[in-house]
Symmetry: C2
Subunit: 120 residues, 2 copies
């Protein structure tokens, strides 16, 4: 594996809510995603989910309040906790979660996306 330059990777795709795998850490995937607008309420019963905002601003809506993330801010959504990400402006995020986690969790639906791999 070579070093992964996040900005070079981000330049290679434009679509929103479609995570791209850029590295592996044991049985976890390191992914980049661009988002804008509102995702869908969902939860992951089997795993926590790590979000690090790189650019933009992300609101992680939870049933009991919002978590606002600006660049160089991170948050871990605990397993089983319903959440719905939302971004007013285009926002880029580094995600970490176990391999095979489905982005829409228990909810499924049209926003479900299989993470493509971007080779470095």
């Amino acid at each position: 594996m070579d070093a992964v330059n996040i900005d070079a990777m981000l330049a290679r795709f434009a679509e929103h809510w479609s995570p791209k795998k850029v590295a592996e850490l044991n049985d976890y995937d390191v992914k980049l995603v661009k988002v804008q607008g509102e995702f869908t309420w969902h939860r992951h019963d089997e795993t926590d989910e790590f979000f690090l905002v790189l650019d933009g601003e992300l609101t992680i809506q939870l049933r009991d309040g919002d978590v606002l993330l600006r660049p160089r801010e991170l948050y871990v959504v605990p397993r089983g906790v319903e959440h719905c990400p939302r971004a007013e402006v285009e926002t880029t995020i580094l995600l970490l979660e176990p391999r095979g986690v489905v982005n829409t969790g228990d909810t499924g639906g049209p926003l479900t996306a299989v993470a493509q791999t971007l080779a470095s």
Copy 2:
């Protein structure tokens, strides 16, 4: 858990080569570390190790060549691979690895540090 502001966390410590835990992701720890100078050659036989450079410049020396990481560049050192991080200038890094991994791996010695937790 609240959002973790990386810069606020980095402002809370100064020592080098002493990772601070700022979040948990399942059985993994999310850590921040400041480094300068050369660490020690070591390996982790049981796990990969994730490095994301935030500021500065990190050289991960491997037995068959160096990996240079600038800000917004990441690298995963595979399990079992000997490595020795080195930084000319003070460099800040986000680390991810399973809980309980010892920073000096199989080598031990005076640079061995138990990660303190910084509450957000």
